[in-house]
Amino acid sequence: MQVGLKIWRYDSATGDRALREYEIEAPEEATLLDCLDIVKDRHDGTLAYRKSCRMMICGSCGMRMDGAAVLACKTRMYDIAQEGRVPVISAMGNLPIVKDLVVDMDPFWSKFKAMWPWLEPGYDRPDDGREYRISQERMNVVHKEALCINCGCCVSECNAMESDPEFLGPQALAKGMRFVGDPRDGATVERLERYNREHGIWDCTRCYFCNERCPKGVDPRDAIAKLGAESIRLGIDRDMGAKHAKWFVRSAETTGWLREEELIPKTQGYVSAIKQLKFGASLARHGKVRPVPIPHVARDVDEARNLRKVVQEQDRAGALGIVQGERALARLAHGGGSESLEEIYARPGSAPRPFLPGEGSAEGQGSLTQADVTPGKEPTRKRGEA
């Protein structure tokens, strides 16, 4: 198939920057990475980009296509080529460009390292010299965070980092959650204290671009939410962001609605709230501040209180209260998933149902889950031999 690409070329040595267009012939199954290979091999050997595994696991080939971060190896080009679209390929955002599609990952990794990205052994270390005994359910709290391949796609799209380059960012914070949520880790409080500082979890603008662009379903924003919830649960709530979040809950459970006039003093403290008087006046003009300081209680306040009670009774406060996102790798949509095996085999165009030679189709379906390897019992036969 014919594929057209426009690639932003850049050379940090000279500062030259140019948008170049390439027309190439590629096989129909080609990914964006395959197309870049064809450009580099046959059209322009000076094109620079990173690549390695070409199977969505090494995280090398993060770049932007039409302004949004993708893994080049995960992006199939067939539909784009059929539509006759010529996508614009550029380097990832929020990281300095070194050459063409290659960015300097140093800022990325220094934030990663700032998270103490290793397990600090806890106190309940097994005394028999064996592995920790932990249920899969308990580990699943950080299942998605453990899928992260450090490709940088989330960082590329992070809006908070665009305005605050020092913001730790979605990837580093997801790595943080990987350990905060790990039952083997003994440094939860120290970690959360650290992540609660300036440029930390509360500086996220909740735009959800990171969840949107993550090629592995890590959902970094969910991880940040979990870190916030876990901080508050453990009383690490000095940051304005934490106070702000706490007030939302407090307000909802006491009066069933958000008392906005109290939000600023509760978040910033009464002293600094005085500086916001002008803003308060503006709120009043728009009818957001009630003239009488007696809070209005919503009619269905019991419902709000009960919701809160349910969360507490189910012990789902903190990270456990954040429901795993639907986009997690393990949850890739697969129709209803309710078909029986017979229905699956009977689907039109379906491959033949498996059977063991000589045993007919019905008997061939016993699931072999355990290898029956008995050395020397029967020789390996060639087909057709007795």
């Binding site: 046959r42 050997g45 290793w118 890739l332 697969h334 491959a351 498996p354 390897v373 087909r383």
Partner: protein, 581 residues
């Protein structure tokens, strides 16, 4: 100002301002930062050495991370198991070419290494009792493969990288290691091309550990990453060291059609079927007991036979997991499902996936002893680039990840111990001048053939002539083809003349590495007139010949060609027997 090959000053543009200097000296220098490299570096650090790593990729980009199914250790969590059974399975799997003392060390130490990884925080899958889960794998007498769904390699790379960060071990990232520095009969460092900034950089080390992985890119259909080009093997080869058992290239039975992307053996471990176009589970004909979970060489040959005899579909057979059900597929094999969906457009819950044998793993490599030491003082090797040998003629699934950890650790420890008892590092100017001249030669060419042509020809011809089944005349022809490519190689043209991220240059160097190591493989294969493990010659020598070929093949680089000799296999307690599954 750098000097050109003829000694004159390079042109005023200074296309390549490659001034050589030793940028740093360390006790232990680890080349390659996959599982073996990182494990070696961690061990050397813990032994008290000043250690650094060199890698042409960031450590987490290493191809160890693409391993899927699991890592073998006889923990006995799922069924009765012990190191002796593990060792026996490995010996048998190796078709009796594995060195048994090494295999015993390996099986004995593996469980401790796994527990350590878990204690470091590895995200392994769990049993209901909270212990590490273990799944059945091919040719294993007990379910002993510890796993993390089907992203085990990723989990290992992450936990090792975390431990590297914790120790703050320096990494020379995107440094392309090119040439070993041999001085006073020992290895004292590595000359590298700095990919990100340009320039030749020499890093000194009292000891050097090569952990550069495999060379699957010699084949057009391979599970291997673009980075797997045998750089470490070639460096050792060019330094005069022996490569052992290079003819044994493992073909993984389930690589996705048409890309060659790996689908884990864990799919079959979880109960997946291999069927031909009629739906017949053909493995019954070839391995009546183990069926789909026979050894990899057996399964690959069976598939190739089905395909060759017309019972395949478009050059592949089908991997069927429909009967496992959506829940099990989603829980245990989510990555394989995603790979099938993205690269073949098939959801394995509803349809079987087309698979075929693809080049996967080099059983052979740089000859080492059980502590990773090579023939050259101060030089060690571990992981896929090394050949201890625990895999012999055929590796069992799940044993290579374990090898990277156990022998990475052992190599790191012995490299550190040697380094801490010796003092100096010296890099002679001559070594640097040699590298400089090679670089100039490559970059100064004003025209020639682009490397991809040679690379594609190598990949296609290796697949045709030196794959699952091998014939005398095809191997002979392949040697001619490789020689022809090697003759053209001095004329390859590097289009990019810049300093910054010149991957055009490094890809050209990689091509040279692949050509020379491929020549070793086919040369050794041609002479091995028997069928053993991954080396199958059904047409002329269909059986194993212990009388004449129960020995390792040793290839060395001599006078611009391959010199072939042999060495003894080390036995302890298992006599060669007929190998059946």
């Amino acid at each position: 100002m750098p000097l050109g090959v003829d000694g004159s000053a390079a042109d005023g543009e200074a296309r390549c301002a490659s001034v050589i200097s030793v940028i740093a000296k360390h006790d232990v220098l680890v080349v390659g930062a996959g599982c073996a490299g990182m494990r070696a570096a961690i061990e050397a650090y813990d032994a008290g050495a000043d250690v650094a790593m060199i890698s042409k990729l960031h450590p987490t980009r290493s191809h160890s991370g693409a391993a899927e199914g699991g890592i073998n250790a006889a923990l006995g969590n799922a069924a009765e198991d012990n190191a002796e059974i593990h060792a026996y399975d490995t010996v048998k799997g190796s078709d009796y070419l594995g060195d048994q003392d090494a295999i015993e060390v390996f099986a004995e130490e593996a469980p401790g290494d796994i527990i350590q990884l878990e204690n470091w925080g590895a995200f392994f899958s769990r049993r209901e009792d909270g212990k590490l889960a273990q799944r059945p794998f091919g040719a294993a007498g007990s379910p002993r493969t510890v796993y993390a769904a089907d992203i085990t390699g990723h989990v290992l790379i992450q936990v090792l990288w975390e431990q590297v960060c914790k120790r703050d071990i320096p990494v020379y990232e995107e440094f392309f290691a090119w040439q070993l520095v041999e001085h006073e009969d020992r290895c004292q460092g590595v000359i590298c091309w700095d990919l990100l900034h340009g320039g030749l950089k020499t890093v000194g080390g009292k000891t050097v550990v090569l952990a550069t992985g495999g060379a699957g890119r010699q084949y057009r259909v391979t599970t291997n990453a673009y980075a797997c080009t045998g750089d470490g093997m070639a460096m050792a080869l060019h330094a005069g060291l022996p490569l052992k058992d290079m003819e044994f290239m493992q073909f993984h039975p389930t690589t996705l059609y048409p890309t060659g992307i790996l689908l884990t053996e864990g799919i079959r471990g979880e109960g997946g079927y291999l069927i031909n176009k009629d739906g017949e589970r053909f493995m019954k004909h070839y391995a009546p007991n183990a069926l789909e979970l026979a050894s990899r060489d057996v399964v690959s040959r069976s598939e190739q036979t089905e395909i060759d005899e017309g019972r395949g579909i478009e050059g592949s057979v089908l991997l069927d997991m429909r009967h496992l059900g959506a829940e099990r597929i989603i829980e245990r094999l989510p990555g394989s499902r995603e790979l099938s969906m993205v690269y073949a457009g098939i959801d394995p819950i509803y349809d079987p996936v087309p698979v075929r044998p693809g080049a996967h793993y080099h059983m052979g490599g740089i000859e080492t002893d059980n502590d990773g030491a090579t023939e050259m003082t101060g030089l060690y090797a571990a992981g896929e680039c090394a050949c201890v040998s625990i895999h012999g003629a055929n590796r069992l699934g799940g044993n290579s990840l374990m090898e990277t950890i156990t022998f990475g650790r052992r190599a790191g420890r012995s490299a550190a111990e040697w380094a801490l008892s010796h003092t100096t590092v010296e890099v002679p100017e001559s070594a640097e001048r040699d590298a400089e001249a090679r670089l100039r030669d490559l970059l100064d060419r004003e025209g020639g053939e682009r490397p991809w042509k040679l690379r594609d020809e190598l990949g296609s011809s290796m697949l045709e002539n030196f794959a699952v089944f091998r014939r005398e005349e095809q191997m002979a022809r392949q040697i001619e083809i490789i020689e022809g490519l090697r003759e053209r190689y001095p004329n390859v043209y590097v289009e990019d003349k810049g300093e910054v991220f010149n991957s055009d240059l490094t890809q050209a160097i990689e091509l040279g590495n692949m050509l020379d190591t491929a020549l070793c493989m086919v040369t050794a294969g041609l002479v091995r007139k028997e069928s053993r493990g991954a080396h199958a010659r059904p047409h002329d020598y269909p059986t194993r010949d212990d009388e004449n070929f129960l020995h390792h093949s040793i290839t060395r680089w001599k006078d611009g060609g391959v010199e072939l000799t042999k060495s003894e296999v080390r036995f302890t307690k298992w006599e060669p027997q007929e190998r059946t599954y």
